[in-house]
Subunit: 185 residues, 4 copies
Amino acid sequence: MARVEIVFYSAMGHTEAIAQSVRVGLESVDGVEVGLLRVDELADDDAWARLDRADAIVLGSPTYMGGVSADFKRFMDQTGSRWYERTWMDKLCAGFTVGGGLSGDKQSALQAMHVFACQHGMIWISMGVGVREPGLDRLSSSIGMMAQAGNAPVAETPPAEDHATAEAFGARIARATLRWGLGRA
Amino acid sequence: MARVEIVFYSAMGHTEAIAQSVRVGLESVDGVEVGLLRVDELADDDAWARLDRADAIVLGSPTYMGGVSADFKRFMDQTGSRWYERTWMDKLCAGFTVGGGLSGDKQSALQAMHVFACQHGMIWISMGVGVREPGLDRLSSSIGMMAQAGNAPVAETPPAEDHATAEAFGARIARATLRWGLGRA
Amino acid sequence: MARVEIVFYSAMGHTEAIAQSVRVGLESVDGVEVGLLRVDELADDDAWARLDRADAIVLGSPTYMGGVSADFKRFMDQTGSRWYERTWMDKLCAGFTVGGGLSGDKQSALQAMHVFACQHGMIWISMGVGVREPGLDRLSSSIGMMAQAGNAPVAETPPAEDHATAEAFGARIARATLRWGLGRA
Amino acid sequence: MARVEIVFYSAMGHTEAIAQSVRVGLESVDGVEVGLLRVDELADDDAWARLDRADAIVLGSPTYMGGVSADFKRFMDQTGSRWYERTWMDKLCAGFTVGGGLSGDKQSALQAMHVFACQHGMIWISMGVGVREPGLDRLSSSIGMMAQAGNAPVAETPPAEDHATAEAFGARIARATLRWGLGRA
C-alpha cells in the first residue's frame, strides 16, 4: 500500500477541480491511498504528519504572476525545518498548475515546484503522458501537468481534456509510487 | 530627475542591508531620487502610488526554498490589477536576492522576479557589473544581484564585497534610469 | 537612426517566417534599420561586425528538446570573447521562439536567451504586447515572443495571429531602441 | 544488476574529471555497472544502444554562456526520434555541470538538463546530498551537482570537495537506480 498526498491551493475552485482529477487517476491504481490537503489546513499538526508519512507528495497551485500563489509559497517556506532535518528525503514528488493562458508562464510555476522538491532531496516525476496520445496534454507540458482555465465556472473550465490529462498524470504518479515503494530494500 | 523605488522583504536584516547598499549606489548618481519600501508597508495606498510613479522598480527578497519569500510573493500577487491595467508598462526593473549558500538556487528567485517584471511589460536591467572587475560580483551572477549571508549578525554578513557589488549595481540602475528617462520623446 | 539585428536559426522555415514578421514590425517605425542574420552566416567577420555595431539584437530560435537549437547555442558559445571584452554591454536584447506545442517548454528556450543577454550585460525587452489586445499573444507569453507551428508548410503555420504578434513585438523593440538611443548622453 | 551511463561533454578536462568522480561514486555501490560516453562518440550506433539499454542516464556538461555547451545541446537535439518513440520513458536521470564562477548561471544549465529529461518522460534524481554534511556541496546546489573550476590544470581544479560531492552524488544515483529496478513488477 502506497500513500500519496496532494497539497494544493485553490481560490476559485479550478485548481481544486484538477486536484480532484489527479486524485481520481491516483485511485484508479490498486494499492494507492490518496489524501487531499489544502494549504490553509496546514495549521494542523496532523496534516503535517500526513505529509511526513506520505510516499509521494503532489504539489498543486494556480499560476499567479508567473509563479505559485503566495499562499502556496507560504506552505513551501513553512517546510524549512523539514528541509533542515531531511524529513522528506527520497519521497517522490510531482506538480501541476492552472493558469488563464495557453502558455502563460505556467512553466515557471512548475520550475519553482521542482526546485522546492529538489531542495528536499525528493525525486521528481515528469509529466510523461500524452505524447502521441490523442486527447491528452493539449498544452504539451513536460515538467509537470498544466491546465488552462478561462473566466468561467468550474463546470465549464478547464476543459475535459485537461481533466483527462490530470487523471492520466495521477495514474502515472501512482504506478511510480508503488514501484519506488516495492524497490525499498 | 529620475525616481527609483526599492521594494523588498527582509526578515533577519540581511536583505535590508543589501537594499541600503543598492540605495547608496543609486544615490551616488546625480539626478536620482530613491525610496525604500518594505512589502509590509504596502497596506498603504501612498506606498502603491510611489511605485506607480517610479521610473524604475528594484525588487529584493531573500531566497527561501529556491524562490522569493512568501511575503514578497504576496506583494507580487497584489499587483494583479496593475498588471491588467498595464500601469507599470515600460518601467525599468531589476532584482537582488540574499541566500545562505554560494549558489543555493538564488538564480531561481531572480528568474521569478524577471518573469514578474516581464508580465508587467517592464524592461529588465541585467547585473552588468563585475566581470574582470576585482572585488565585485564574487558569486558571478548575471540576471540580477546575488549576496550570500551566513548565520551571523548583519554587521558581519554579507561580506563587504557583496555590499560593494550592491552599490555598483545601484549605480548601474541609476544610469540606465536616467538614460531611459532622457530618451522619452 | 537605430540599428537592430535579428540573429536566428531556422531549419524548416517557420522561425525564419516569424523573423520576417518581427522585421516588418521593426521597419514600421521610422528611424530604424534592420538586418537579418542566420547563425550559419556568422563564419563571416562582417556579420559579427554588424552585431557589434547594433543598438539592439533580437534572438530567434526554434524550441528543440526544451531549449534553443544546437546551432543557435553554437552561436551563443561563440560570443565568449565578446562576453569577456563586454562588447555588447548595454545593448538592448529580446527573443522569440517557435515550437510545435501550445506551451511546450518554449519558456525554457526564452529563459536561455535571457540568461545569455544578461551574461553580456544587455538590457532585456519583455513581450509587452497583447494583454487585453484581441488578436495578439494567443499563447500569453511575457518573457519574449512565442509562436506555435504545426507540421505544415510555412504558408499555413504559424497562424496569422502569431505573425501579427511578431509584428507588434518588432514595433515595440523598435520604439525601445530609439528611446534608449536618444537617452544616451 | 543496474546499468548507468554517464554522457558528457568536456573541452578542457574539468567536466571529464568530475564525470570520473561520479563514476567512482556509482561503482562504490554493489550491483551497478557504469559506462562513460563522450557526446562526440555518439556517431556510433553502439553508443546509442548503450543509452537505450541504460537504467539511468547521467548528463554532464560545462556551463557555457548560461547553458549546456553547444556540443551537448547537439546530443540533446539528436534524441528527437527517441523522444517521439518514448524510448527513454521512465529511466532515471540526473545531471551535473562545471563552471568558472561560484554561482555563474550553472542552475540554468541544470534546468535545461531537467527539462530535457522530462521531455523524455524520465524521473529526475535531485542532488540530495550535502546538507549538514561538512565537506560536501560547498556550492549548495539542489537540482543537480555543481562543480567550480578555475583557469588551472585538472589536477588543481575543481577542488577536492567538489570531487567528493560528485562521488556522493554518484552513490546516490546508484542506490536510486537499484531501488527503481527492484521495484519493477
